[in-house]
Subunit: 458 residues, 2 copies
């Protein structure tokens, strides 16, 4: 059976009501972005004959094709009328981009309520209002009213994003694109007049492109429904949730920007635990945990951590964090130590952390991981690319050792500069997530461990 | 009176013992880096006639000039002999780059002890061994054995770095360079045979180029001496300290890589508090706090925080963090609110956070800050550069408003992509530190507040 939300992500035909070419208008950016969509696009605007090379239709009814999805990018006051047209054209899916509804005060709230009633009456499923809508790398569908010049779109990948906030959706996508991480689908449902957090999760459970979900919420529409959906999702795929509006000041910010209540943080935390979701404690943590769970697929991850480094101080920082995250760091077994003693000069440190020092070469990483990693559950590999004995090839060599050992590994390489940026992207392509600090590399492994801690592996 | 350590940072003449042109040798990278030094450089190596365009001397004694500083980049076993030559030439400052001493086992420990005895006897002050030594942007002095191609050097700035770990020194410099932050001086003292943490702090108290210090330690040489130096320093300039080897696993990593004891973390924390230093809890925090205290100079910072944003979700995250950091977020005063009501469309949120929404323009940031910031102690300004109504000029406009209000402000702009990277560097140049997440922008302000919380402003 096709999921009720499938039509939002895989329409054959899309009509854009409010298409335009005026700079800074949502309808302009969306039409530009729809150029990437592998389906038919029908702009609607009575004031234009053509737009961006498309024939432009004066009304929905004038389109000589069935429409699967309507995207409405009109001022709030015109949306109700547009929804009636959507109904007349027998379209069953609408994304309401427009803001100025419940988040904007009493009048908007009433307008939103009326529209909700009509959508129900007409059996139209709605995403929005006050939403970016949908981005799907599988078919290029992109209803976001932010230009690609301003906000990079990640390439196809296994992570999907569900977000209540448009700003967070955009900034997550930007951060993931920066790190070379791909995504499968993103949905920002805004005021959730109809489609909500739980619906989106429920749809992605069976989406073959989605391997994991990163979810941002300030509040959920229906606690029981959400818990059920989160539980079902997390039983099949890793789920990372960032709940904002946790504390008094954050909750006040939520109610002043969305006119909803943030709810008791303790209840959310209990629900996340019960569902088996990984809680992200802020923006960086969200990015870090999401990368780990989307890139690495291990049924369960134990707590014995190996650290390999070419800079002692960085390994100390990783070890401090390992303790906080509940890892243990048993010493390298004697038999392994003997092998390392043979392979390495005396000044390499062959405990755990294994410190290859500033003299460590690419192949020393391979030797250390090959000999030691089979005796551990996971590893953090720290590479200071400033060392002259380490080259670009280190990334492929490290990845090979990790894949041979079939153990989850995160890397710490400082990002941001050309040289290290390339190393980071190279490792990501090989399925190894890279983090810009030792603490974050450890924390990401801890998130993976939590996500994959199913009962059967305890 | 000239400080005893001045000669390490401001020699007129430098001799490099162990200069070479073999790839991957420390002596090669150091000689290359000394090309930037505004003083005379004398390479010493009996096997070469010239090196990198310098005349190369067979011995120290052959140099026809007085030498202020000797940099020794020889294998450990040759260092003792070299120190005798240093003494014969009547040089009073030596940086020992060489590793293979106390950190490498019993034999090395004894060798280090012998050298320490001789240095004392000859009245030679020593930085190292197992150290990068000194980087001084004021005169280009650079004894680091990492090439500039591999590790970027930050431009001149107000922050100085004192670090026990070479790896951390390098990675801090790389991160600061990436962010467009300048530094004044950096010193990595390694095994601290002589010059230690407290000495370095004591020297930088009166260094006119140094406005603040970021310090990484695993342990200190002498607790009482350290506390006294930290107290004296923090009374004059902000001091951010990252103590690693805090927890059991981290402390074990310290003793296996430096053969020193990490000491009780609780005692360190008490000392930091007593000294008035800001504790950094890891790598990112170190970078974040250092940027804030080095760029912004305010005698004392109160706790009333204003948040201005063009994306609601980001402001919620900032507000959550504000609560954790002990800030308050009073609502915008009524008189200000009336002005904002006149200036802004109804859908902008005029509480605190002030949310300019995706429609906020550059000048709206100016209006919000100009009207509201005088009523607060500090602000976090969040700019989603993906919005089409915000342009590159936003940075200058925001900086102007902050400078007019004379209040400390941190910005949150996601970094890493070309467009946003430029915005970040532009703001940094205007003295406003930029962070890649809302939580980090708030945390950095909290560090500034802590650093500037002198008794008189309570």
């Amino acid at each position: 059976m096709v999921h009720d939300l499938h039509g939002f992500f895989y329409p054959r035909t899309v009509a854009l009501i409010g298409a335009t070419d005026k700079p800074d208008k949502p309808g302009t950016a969306i039409l530009e972005n729809l150029a990437h969509f592998k389906g038919a696009v029908y702009p609607v605007n009575p004031k234009h004959g053509t737009l961006l090379g498309h024939h432009c239709y004066p009304s929905l009814m004038a389109i000589p094709d069935e429409i699967d999805l309507a995207i409405i990018a009109l001022p709030a006051a015109l949306v109700e009328r547009a929804l009636e047209e959507v109904h007349k054209k027998d379209i069953r899916r609408a994304i309401l981009i427009s803001s100025g509804f419940a988040e904007a005060g009493e009048e908007g709230r009433l307008m939103q309520k009326r529209i909700a009633g009509k959508a129900k009456e007409y059996a139209i499923r709605v995403i929005g209002p006050n939403a970016l809508g949908v981005y799907n790398t599988d078919n290029g569908l992109d209803s976001f009213f932010v230009s690609r010049e301003r906000v990079s779109r990640p390439a196809p990948g296994r992570l999907s994003i569900i977000s209540q906030s448009g700003a967070i959706t955009v900034i997550l996508m930007e951060a993931l694109a920066r790190d070379g991480m791909g995504i499968a689908k993103a949905v920002n449902y805004g005021n959730r007049l109809d489609v909500d957090d739980a619906d989106a999760l429920d749809y992605l459970i069976d989406d073959p492109q989605t391997g994991a979900v990163a979810m941002y919420i300030e509040s959920v529409a229906d606690g029981g429904k959400f818990l059920q959906a989160a539980k079902a999702f997390a039983a099949k795929k890793p789920l990372v949730i960032w709940k904002a509006g946790k504390h008094e000041l954050g909750a006040a910010a939520v109610s002043s920007h969305t006119a909803t209540l943030a709810g008791k943080y303790g209840l959310y935390q209990a629900a996340f635990r019960q569902a088996g979701a990984v809680e992200a404690f802020g923006f960086d943590h969200m990015i870090d945990a999401s990368k780990a769970v989307a890139l690495m697929d291990y049924p369960c991850v134990g707590k014995r951590l190996l650290v390999v480094t070419n800079g002692g101080g960085m390994a100390v920082a990783a070890s401090d964090q390992a303790q906080l995250e509940g890892f243990t760091m048993p010493r390298v077994p004697d038999a392994v130590r003997q092998k390392l003693d043979q392979a390495f000069p005396p000044f390499f440190v062959k405990n755990n952390p294994i410190d290859l020092t500033g003299s460590g070469r690419n192949e020393d990483y391979y030797i250390a991981l090959k000999e030691a990693l089979p005796h551990y559950d996971a590893a953090v590999v720290i590479v200071l690319m400033g060392s002259t004995t380490v080259t670009e090839e280190a990334t492929a060599i490290i990845a090979r050792a990790c894949h041979e050992a079939k153990k989850p590994v995160t890397c710490c390489i400082l990002q941001g500069l050309g040289y290290t940026q390339e190393a980071m992207h190279a490792l990501l392509k090989l399925g190894i997530p890279v983090y810009p600090s030792p603490e974050r590399a450890v924390r990401a492994l801890a998130a993976l461990r939590k996500a994959n801690q199913k009962k059967e592996c305890e």
